[in-house]
C-alpha cells in the first residue's frame, strides 16, 4: 500500500465521520426545532431551561443558549440512554431489537450519495460528496424505502394490535407514495439529461449543475409539489403520520418500545426528514446554487462559490445548502402544526387517484415539452451530443 492510498482511505473515513456527526446533530437539533416550532405556533416558549454547568456560565451567550434550548437535545439523549430498557415478555425478541436499527440505518446510508456542496479541483467544479456514484437518486430511492422495514418489523415484532396496525398502514402508505415519488422526479432527470443540460447520468451533482439557469421547482411546480407530498408520506410526517396516529393507535408502531430503542426510531425519523429535505433541495431548489440566472443574468449569480478562494467558496456552498435544507425541515414542522391528519382511506385516495395519475401526466407533459424545446433550440447548437 502506498502512502497516498493510506491517506486517501484515512481522509475518506474522517470525511464519513464528519458526515455522520453532522447529520446526526442536525437530526437531534431538528427534534429541538420541532419542539420550539410547536411551542411558537401554540403561543408558548418551548424548552428553555436545560443548562450545562460550565458552558451556561459564559456571559451573554450562555444564558441565551439556554433560552434557545441549545442543550435540550443533549438532555433528551442522555435520558433515552439511561432509562430502563425493558423488553416486554410477549415480543419476538430478535426482530424487536433489530427493528430500531433497521429504521435508522437506511436513513443514514442515503447520505453517502448526497452532495452537499462544491469545490474546485483545478478548474473543474466537483461535488463534496462521500461517493459520487452515477446512480445517486436510484440509490436514495431504494434505500430510503427500506426504512419502512424498520417500522413494519417493529410493528410486527411488538406482537400487539396497535403497533401491528401501524406497521400495516405504514407499508400500504409506502407502496402508494413510492410510485408517485419515483415518477415525480422523472421530469427532473429528463431535463438534467437533455441535450440542453448536457451532462447526463442520474447523479445528483449533475441535477444541481443543470439548475444554474432555473431552479426546477420554479418551472416544474407540480412535480415538486407531488414529490414534497410523497416525501411527507414517506417520512411518516403529518398530515400522513398513519403509522403512529396517536389518537387511534396509542403510539403506533413504537407503542411497545421504550428508552434507547424508541430513541433510535425517533432519530431515524428525523434523520429521514433532514435527508429528505436535502434531496428536495437538490432536485427542485437548485442545491447550493445561489440564485437562478434565468439564462440572462451572469453566471456568478448562480455560482459565486467558484470565484472565491477554494476553502471559502466550498464552505459557503455547504452552508448555503444546509440553510436551504433547514428551511424545508422547518416547513415539515410548520405543516405538521397546521394540517390535521388525513383519514386512512383519504391517504389512499390521494395517493392513488390524484398523485400517481398527476405524476404520470407530468412525466408525459414534461417529456413532450422538453423534447420540443430540444428540437427547437438546443440540438442545432450541440450537434456533438446528437451524434
Amino acid at each position: 500500500m502506498t502512502d497516498s492510498l493510506v491517506l486517501d482511505i484515512v481522509l475518506k473515513v474522517v470525511f464519513a465521520l464528519i458526515f455522520v456527526v453532522v447529520i446526526m446533530t442536525l437530526a437531534a437539533y431538528s427534534v429541538l426545532a420541532e419542539r420550539k416550532v410547536a411551542s411558537w405556533i401554540q403561543g408558548r416558549v418551548g424548552p428553555n431551561r436545560t443548562a450545562l454547568p460550565g458552558l451556561s456560565a459564559i456571559p451573554v451567550i450562555g444564558p441565551h443558549l439556554v433560552k434557545m434550548g441549545m442543550w435540550q437535545p443533549l438532555a433528551d439523549g442522555v435520558k433515552f440512554l439511561f432509562k430502563e430498557d425493558p423488553i416486554p415478555g410477549h415480543v419476538n425478541k430478535l426482530y424487536y431489537v433489530l427493528a430500531p436499527c433497521i429504521a435508522l440505518v437506511p436513513a443514514l446510508t442515503t447520505m453517502v450519495v448526497l452532495p452537499v456542496g462544491q469545490y474546485l479541483d483545478g478548474d473543474i467544479v466537483k461535488p463534496i460528496v462521500l461517493a459520487n456514484v452515477d446512480i445517486g437518486i436510484l440509490f436514495i430511492l431504494a434505500f430510503s424505502s427500506l426504512g419502512v422495514y424498520g417500522i413494519v418489523i417493529g410493528g410486527w415484532a411488538a406482537n400487539s394490535k396497535y403497533p401491528y396496525f401501524g406497521g400495516i398502514r405504514s407499508s400500504a402508505q409506502m407502496i402508494s407514495y413510492e410510485l408517485a415519488m419515483g415518477m415525480s422526479i422523472l421530469p427532473v432527470f429528463i431535463w438534467a439529461n437533455g441535450p440542453g443540460a448536457g451532462i447526463g447520468g442520474l447523479s445528483l451533482f449533475n441535477v444541481v449543475e443543470s439548475q444554474q439557469a432555473m431552479w426546477l421547482g420554479v418551472w416544474m411546480p407540480i412535480p415538486a409539489f407531488i414529490f414534497l407530498t410523497s416525501l411527507y408520506a414517506e417520512t411518516n410526517r403529518l398530515p400522513f403520520d398513519m403509522p403512529e396516529s396517536e389518537t387511534e393507535l396509542v403510539g403506533g408502531f413504537h407503542t411497545e418500545y421504550g428508552s434507547f430503542k424508541f430513541g433510535l426510531f425517533f432519530v431515524g425519523e428525523y434523520a429521514h426528514m433532514v435527508i429528505g429535505s436535502a434531496v428536495f433541495t437538490i432536485l427542485f431548489l437548485g442545491g447550493w446554487n445561489f440564485l437562478p440566472t434565468f439564462g440572462v443574468l451572469p453566471d456568478w449569480v448562480a455560482d459565486p462559490w467558484s470565484l472565491m478562494p477554494n476553502w471559502l467558496g466550498s464552505t459557503l456552498s455547504v452552508i448555503y445548502f444546509i440553510g436551504k435544507t433547514l428551511f424545508f425541515v422547518f416547513l415539515f414542522m410548520w405543516v405538521r402544526w397546521t394540517l390535521p391528519r388525513f383519514r386512512y382511506d383519504q391517504v389512499m385516495t390521494l395517493g392513488w387517484k390524484y398523485l400517481v395519475p398527476g405524476a404520470l401526466i407530468c412525466v408525459v407533459a414534461y417529456a413532450i415539452i422538453i423534447g420540443l424545446w430540444d428540437i427547437a433550440f438546443t440540438i442545432e447548437e450541440t450537434p456533438a451530443i446528437v451524434e
Partner: protein, 182 residues
C-alpha cells in the same frame, strides 16, 4: 316556518385541490408564530392571585398579635374531608392573653385531604381561619404535609380586625374591676 336555503354550491377546481385552504392554514399558524408568547415563566413569574382566591387554609392573628382561634372546633366538625384536627388548650393565668377564652394547643390541617372548599372559613365565628393565596404545596412525605399550628400561623400572618372582641371584653372587665359598675 321560514326556510333558509343554505348555499351549497359545488367546490370549484382550486377548492377541490385543498391548496387555498392549506395555504390559508399555513398563514394562520405563521401569524400565530410571530405573535407574542403567552407563557408565564412560572417559578420566577407568578400569576396575580385574586383577592377572594381559595388557596391553602391558614390561621391568622389579630393586629395585637393574638391568636384569633379559640379552638371551638366548628371548622373541624364542618370540614367535609375531615382534614382538620384541633387539640384544644387552656390559656394559663398570667399569660399575656389570659382574658381570652381558649386557644388551640395544636391545630393540624392535612393538606393532602383538604379540598379547598372554604367551609372552615365560612363557619368560623372568630374569623380566625382564612383560605389565602398560597397555592403550591409540596413536600417529601405525608407527615410533612400535615401542617401544624406554627406553620399555619406563619402562612396566615396578620389580618386587619374590625371587632377587637377580646380587647373590648378585657376593657369591660378592667372597667368593672375599677369602677365596680355593672
Amino acid at each position: 316556518m321560514a326556510v333558509k336555503v343554505v348555499d351549497r354550491s359545488p367546490l370549484n377546481f382550486w377548492e377541490k385541490t385543498y391548496m387555498p385552504q392549506v395555504l390559508g392554514g399555513l398563514k394562520i399558524t405563521l401569524d400565530n408564530m410571530l405573535r407574542p408568547k403567552v407563557t408565564l415563566q412560572y417559578p420566577e413569574e407568578r400569576p396575580t392571585i385574586p383577592d377572594n382566591y381559595r388557596g391553602v387554609p391558614t390561621l391568622v392573628r389579630d393586629p395585637n398579635g393574638r391568636e384569633k382561634c379559640v379552638s371551638c372546633q366548628l371548622c373541624e366538625f364542618v370540614c367535609p374531608p375531615k382534614a382538620i384536627r384541633i387539640t384544644p388548650g387552656e390559656i394559663e393565668d398570667g399569660d399575656e392573653h389570659e382574658h381570652v377564652e381558649k386557644r388551640p394547643k395544636d391545630f393540624e390541617i392535612n393538606m393532602l385531604r383538604c379540598i379547598y372548599c372554604g367551609m372552615c372559613q365560612e363557619v368560623c365565628p372568630e374569623e380566625a381561619i382564612f383560605l389565602q393565596d398560597t397555592y403550591s404545596v409540596s413536600g417529601y412525605s405525608r407527615e410533612e404535609l400535615v401542617y401544624h399550628k406554627a406553620k399555619l400561623y406563619e402562612l396566615g400572618g396578620t389580618l386587619p380586625d374590625q371587632h377587637y372582641k377580646w380587647d373590648r371584653k378585657k376593657d369591660a372587665e378592667e372597667k368593672a374591676a375599677a369602677g365596680g359598675h355593672h
